[in-house]
Amino acid sequence: MILIVSKREALPGRGVLVVYLGALALALGLCAGMLLLAGKPALGGLAVLFQGAFGQAHSLLDALLKAIPIFLCSLGVALCFRMQIWNIGAEGQFALGAVGATWAALSFGGLPGALLLPLMFLSAMALGALWGLIPAVLRLRLGVNEIISSLMLNYVGILVLEYLVFGIWKDPASFGFPMTSEFPAGAQIGRMGASLGTGLLGKLHWGLLACPLAGLAYSVFLGRTRLGFELAACGEGERVARYARLPYGFLVLLVMGLGGALSGLAGCIETSATLGRLQPTVMVGYGYTAIVVAWLARLKPWPIAFTAFLLAALRVGVEAMQLELQIPAAFGQIMEGAILLCVLAGQFFLTYSVRLRRPAPSEAPS
């Protein structure tokens, strides 16, 4: 018997779902194995995971809240991935966004919310964009590999945040804990509670609105504008783009700037709406989850939204595992890595078909 590998004519419709589900099952199996390795119940652990993630209304709501920053960061990196610019720096851009928002909140705390919040959004997006533009400029001017430079800026960005929170921004009344003082009311993104009642939904905050707006802008930009089409063409590679006289350099700056701004916005929303102050715990790796989400969703906006929610739900489930089974939080990372690896391998079957064939008598077995 010999294996015949050949390229498929067209993407199989239902096949995509089969491949993704198969990959997901394989990844879950792998994770269950890791649980056994650590001496934890495998099936019981996964049960707690799913129960914690999807079992109750409040866990779904929690997932929705966590999905907001993941979705925004993911749109940002997906924009860059579309033209094969490997922006791994969402985490650092998120950190700078949080810093920018905090700067505005602490400096202009006396302003009313209608002025202060836009100012925070602006400064957060500007700093995030700046953090994204550094690797872009280095890449265009000097040919510096953007994967490593954007990743290194993650570490630097987080340390900038820590420097400020441990230093000049530390609240004197915090008993030495590294955190700023609580933002004035005008700098906190409000809860929808007032209009949705005091029930569960009341926990949702207005930052959620940023998601449909950003998603819509992403779709319109890519599908309806000239620059968007040019961007897609640049995905074929730099040489092709330059040969076709596309504005390659400008587009690199644009996607890295916009990507940084989106991650910065996520940092602003997370700081203002979820914590109400800046502290190092704002950094929980959403920027890295966003990369996993973008790739799993094949860079398309609706799948990004769905996948962001799914991975946010997994994070909620892992919290339940932490509480009930004392499983370290890193289990979430293992799952994200395993799912991405399995889906990557599975995508092979979308591009190629593999068949077993008996060698013809004239053929020598190879």
């Binding site: 340390l159 996993v292 990372q333 991405l340 995508q347």
Partner: protein, 311 residues
């Protein structure tokens, strides 16, 4: 600065540079064979735990080292499987590998945080350690550091003086030509990835067995990424990797020494140094690669490009 302090700082430079050197050499082999492995950080992290665990259970540092190397190779093999056999994107697969490896290290390692190991101890090499300055800096170290002096030579010999090395490089430059010459580029690439992962694993094991004798999670702390950057700095050559690794060893040792001396420079600014330096080093090597008209400083031609199946 007193002469004793300079010697201590240089000796610490060699120690801090050693794990980075192993990992950089590993990534050079992998990339020379055409496979970009961005999972170095994950390989190092997992290997640091595997090394600790085996040493902790058996009491043998050498078994721990072997376990670290194997863990690194195993994880790198996963990368090879995903992107060589299943033709996944090498960048994304490597990133996934780092997320997976670092996660696994922290997941399995959390119950052991704070446990001590014996690991490797320093010993003076007879005669050589009596050399003025050099003796104290280079020859009063542990066995792994001595091993790291030989590794660059071994990697150079493998890549440029053996037919296997020629095959590996051919698989990275032009796999079709390698196949036409009767070699199996896929198998060669896989071998390159495994060897590279093994060396990254040695670097990771060094962290838990010799660098600190106390287990904590996240020991790798970005060193894997520094190694990926240093491969570019080294122009994919083992000799220059030594210089790069000790440069970073120096900045890390300096930064630690400064923190320990109770300076009033905030630690977050000191901790930034290696990461900022990485970006600077990339800028410098990019400028140099351009001025030298790319001669001898370019990446392997088929780096990051998967071998498409025929038909």
């Amino acid at each position: 600065m007193s002469p004793e302090l300079v010697v201590a700082l240089l000796a610490a430079t060699v120690q801090a540079g050693t794990p980075i050197l192993f990992a950089t050499l590993g990534e050079i082999i992998s990339e020379r064979a055409g496979v970009l492995n961005l999972g170095v950080e994950g390989c190092m992290a997992l290997a640091s735990f595997a090394g600790f665990l085996v040493c902790h259970q058996t009491g043998s540092a050498w078994l721990g080292l072997a376990a670290g190397g194997c863990a690194g190779a195993l994880l790198a093999g996963l990368h090879g499987l995903v992107c060589q056999v299943f033709l996944g994107n090498q960048v994304v697969s490597g990133l996934a590998l780092t997320i997976f490896g670092v996660g696994l290290c922290n997941f399995l390692g959390t119950p052991y945080v704070g446990q001590a190991t014996v690991g490797f101890q320093q010993f003076a090499v007879p005669a050589l350690s009596e050399l003025p300055l050099l003796g104290a800096v280079f020859f009063r170290q542990d066995a792994l550091v001595y091993l790291s002096y030989l590794t660059p030579v071994a990697v150079w010999f493998l890549l440029w003086r053996t037919s296997l090395g020629l095959g590996l490089r051919a698989a990275g430059e032009m796999p079709a030509a390698a196949a036409a010459a009767g070699l199996n580029p896929l198998r060669l690439r896989f071998l390159g990835v495994l060897l590279g992962g093994f060396l990254c694993g040695l670097g990771g094991a060094y962290l838990s067995l010799a660098h600190t004798h106390l287990w904590t999670t996240s020991l790798s702390g970005g060193r894997g990424w520094v190694a990926v950057a240093l491969v570019i700095f080294a122009f994919w050559r083992p000799g220059r990797a030594v210089a790069g690794a000790y440069l970073f060893g120096g900045i890390m040792a300096f930064q630690l020494r400064l923190q320990a001396s109770g300076t009033n420079v905030p630690s977050s600014l000191l901790l930034m140094l290696p990461y900022v330096l990485t970006v600077l080093v990339l800028v410098l090597s990019a400028a140099r690669a351009r001025s030298a008209h790319g001669r001898g400083s370019a990446a392997p031609a088929a780096l990051g490009v998967n071998i498409e199946p025929e038909g």
